[in-house]
Symmetry: C2
Subunit: 607 residues, 2 copies
Amino acid sequence: MSREDLAFLLYEWLDVETLTARRRFAEHSRETFDAVLELSEDMAMSLFAPHNKLSDAHEPRMRPDGTVETIPEIKKALDAFSAAGLIAGSFDEELGGMQLPTVVARASTAWFQAANVSTSGYPFLTIGNANLLAAHGSPAQVDTFVRPMLAGRWFGTMCLSEPQAGSSLADVTTKAVKDDGPEPDRYRLSGTKMWISGGDHELTENIVHLVLAKVPGAPDGVKGISLFIVPKYVPEGGVATDAERGGAARRGERNDVVLVGLNHKMGNRGTTNTLLQFGDGTYAPGGRAGAVGYLVGEANKGLAYMFHMMNEARIGVGFGAVALGYAGYLASLEYARNRTQGRRPGEKDPSAPPVALIEHADVRRMLLAQKAYAEGALALGLYCSKLVDEQHTADDDAERARTTLLLDVLTPIAKSWPSQWCLQANSLAIQVLGGYGYTRDYDVEQYYRDNRLNPIHEGTHGIQGLDLLGRKMIMQGGAGLVLLAQTIAATAERGRAAGGEAAGHAAELSAAVERLAEVTGTLWADGDAQVALANSSIYLEAAGHVVIAWMWLEQLLAAEGKDGAFYEGKRAAARYFYRYELPRTGPQLDLLARRDRTTVDLDPAWL
Amino acid sequence: MSREDLAFLLYEWLDVETLTARRRFAEHSRETFDAVLELSEDMAMSLFAPHNKLSDAHEPRMRPDGTVETIPEIKKALDAFSAAGLIAGSFDEELGGMQLPTVVARASTAWFQAANVSTSGYPFLTIGNANLLAAHGSPAQVDTFVRPMLAGRWFGTMCLSEPQAGSSLADVTTKAVKDDGPEPDRYRLSGTKMWISGGDHELTENIVHLVLAKVPGAPDGVKGISLFIVPKYVPEGGVATDAERGGAARRGERNDVVLVGLNHKMGNRGTTNTLLQFGDGTYAPGGRAGAVGYLVGEANKGLAYMFHMMNEARIGVGFGAVALGYAGYLASLEYARNRTQGRRPGEKDPSAPPVALIEHADVRRMLLAQKAYAEGALALGLYCSKLVDEQHTADDDAERARTTLLLDVLTPIAKSWPSQWCLQANSLAIQVLGGYGYTRDYDVEQYYRDNRLNPIHEGTHGIQGLDLLGRKMIMQGGAGLVLLAQTIAATAERGRAAGGEAAGHAAELSAAVERLAEVTGTLWADGDAQVALANSSIYLEAAGHVVIAWMWLEQLLAAEGKDGAFYEGKRAAARYFYRYELPRTGPQLDLLARRDRTTVDLDPAWL
């Protein structure tokens, strides 16, 4: 991660200091933001980065007694993270938080994800969980579960997938039945959840699972899904406010949630990833089997609540991909500056000394591509995070509606584009290092393995494509697309006014976004969803390239009139993106405009 | 790997039975070819595939005494492979071989590489080594080293790279000094070689290294490189013919070649990959330190000899990438047929049963893409292998020159295109399996890790681009490009004559190859190598897509007028390639036609 680039994006481009004019952030200033960023950098470098390879080589292990063993460096790093107040960073002061803007908190996470994506997974899941409960939980639930999470005493998870239902939440079969007893929102859950990151460990004294389940008699499909809090240990004395309890929540008896097994993955090996069994009778809280769970909000509205977390988790996944892409870029850049190899084309004297790798045009292309992918995607992640702040602190309903809509449209892109292209960046980083890059002696192969998860979890690439083209672009009568196009057009207008290279880019960007809008109309012209959505992944990729081209014009404009290598680098990366990348959308949009039926008409027997 | 597809390509398309009309292959028939393919399939499935994951999880280990421990399944599989005569398959009968056509031998390797790329690496390196020595070694060297390798008693390696010189062979510093004693071609070598696959192990009684080194006083650069045979154990009684020796060669005293360490890689973990030290005095063969080596052919011509091996090794690398791409395709296809998930777009009834993954358009796209990549690249690998046979058994010099030139032009593409796109296929295979694909419980993540090596070794992607655009396309006054264009044009002409879909593809193919030729001319218009070669990797990718489009038109024509799912599948994959893939070359060729200077003009300080 680059301190200089974060400062450029936050202060010179997004002008996040203006957020301090909003009441929620009034106590803040550039100094407090910088203090958080510096703390994050220091802690990430000193406590997270040093065990990144170690935790990859020494995966969590399930002991014979069913508990999980992780290397001690993980707990040490996380205890320091919690103690520094970073879990609570963006939460209300009333909850012990710092009320940091989301965009600053997000920038802080980049340091941790670049240093160690596996270890930082635990608190980031916890933050997402706590965010959801702070918004939708009852005061007693907030006191009982959110406060211990923000203090780092308990960690959180999200439990959506089941072994038979990954992307298809409509098919969730975990059951929740009203429990006996005085607590009205207390249920007993039974079922199996798969792919649960942080689903078990001994890093904290309790784990707060947020679980999607169905109450008997609920409607079929996603409209019958409810959301429950299912802690690993039932809170002592049940769910209550701290005032009622007379102090902070403490864990009570063991709940009926059992670790069945750990998943062994290609990367992200340091985060436990689990198969959990709820309510099989291994434990009997309150004297009888069944996992105790507490209903969040109203029954059958679980998916809507979960999407509160999911949308931020999706931006977070994209941001994690960015951090890995950026880390690989910097590692390969350093290697290319120092390693000598070969000679320039046309050099006839074999006794001439070899040149640094960075002198070769193809190596520069691979570095510039990584820079364009990582810095373009970083800009998008921060832009979306600032939209979250604007949404939360909007002056009026119109502004709130506008930022919400723009964020809705951008979320599938902010999730998927970095997951695809920062993975590609990691592949290029390996390539720059050559044979060394393929060994486990260097960091880049791990980045590549770690990053390969990102197009899969929190909604696969294909799911994001369906979300963008099948929902976001057409909701409210196409208002999302119109708003995106208008917002990009405003940047293009500034580009045209700036003249020079910016004007050239602006013209290409305008043409691309107009073509995207036109193609969207063509795809939905007759409302046949099967044909319209047949190539939604390709639509997602084309829209992503248009959006990142927009981010590069934005950065170019923020660098305008400024001298020095840093700003020249921004201009070079923007140039690369417009020359090498944006043109890729041409054939993609041509295919979409033809309403291509190749896959629709395919007989599966032909495969 | 698919038996049906291999039969289609070998017999219905390439018509390899006609090779039996050539004297070298006169003893063969479709029956003998099929017998080899069936044997290969059986042996690959029963002895190679079962330990593929095991050897990934249990890498070779260096014991304290400096020897290498590998899991016993590897030796068992390789002993059976050697005993079946498969190492000697394509060699002369006089050497104990079967005189199989290269194209059939290559098809046989697909089974082994798909089953276990690491274990099959040992004999395939040995075959390449033996091929080189059979062509360029003296009769005594052939008897002493080639015969034990063909019998599987000894294995072979190629030692090019050094720690400070990977792609840049001009900078090799390993030294060879004439040895005392009666043998005129006996030298003493000293130096360090890196990335040596199969560089040490206990699988065979001896290891025959082919080592690039420089004799003192040799010219600078690649013109001063000589090639030496440096066995792990010096042959007893020195190098002699079997007649002189009175029997087969036996290993004598330990040579001064020491295993310094094993490289630990992301994939390909079952093949030992080593750092070797030559001549550091650990051993003293003949009573003094220095690794004993035998000069092959003439001094200073080592690189030309090595390229005899390298060119076939490059086609072999591409073919290995194909095998992995194909294996991932079939694994994800089976998964997609059996796993149910979600519903079709537009299905409003949430209680409708979930459909198989293969019913989703995006999953079909990912399967069809894999099919198009793997089967297209398989066709190219077999086509090039048949060119090797035609070259070796040509009726006259003109035919030999033609096949040699076409093979020269196609080699960098046959190496790099599958390495790029069959890796992409493996990524799509993971994506089809979703979270499961990312776990080590399934095979596809290993294919992806294994395959990531292929764009790196035997000449990186960038090196192949320089070779294609900087040498192959312009040598002999551009004759290579002309021959390639003519050969493709002949296929396009047949496509036009066939009419229908083939005629449409033919028109697009003709346009693409004409554009490629035109752009090649533009790039070299003023002979400025720096600008011409700045985007040679992109040129390589565009040329590769054109060549694979050609392979798909060829397959379409071979399937013409034939009914059934298999042939419909060929037509669908061809359609996919022309609709989704070939258009990617448009923006690539536009960039090249502009003689883009982005990377040339880049100041490294801006990165």
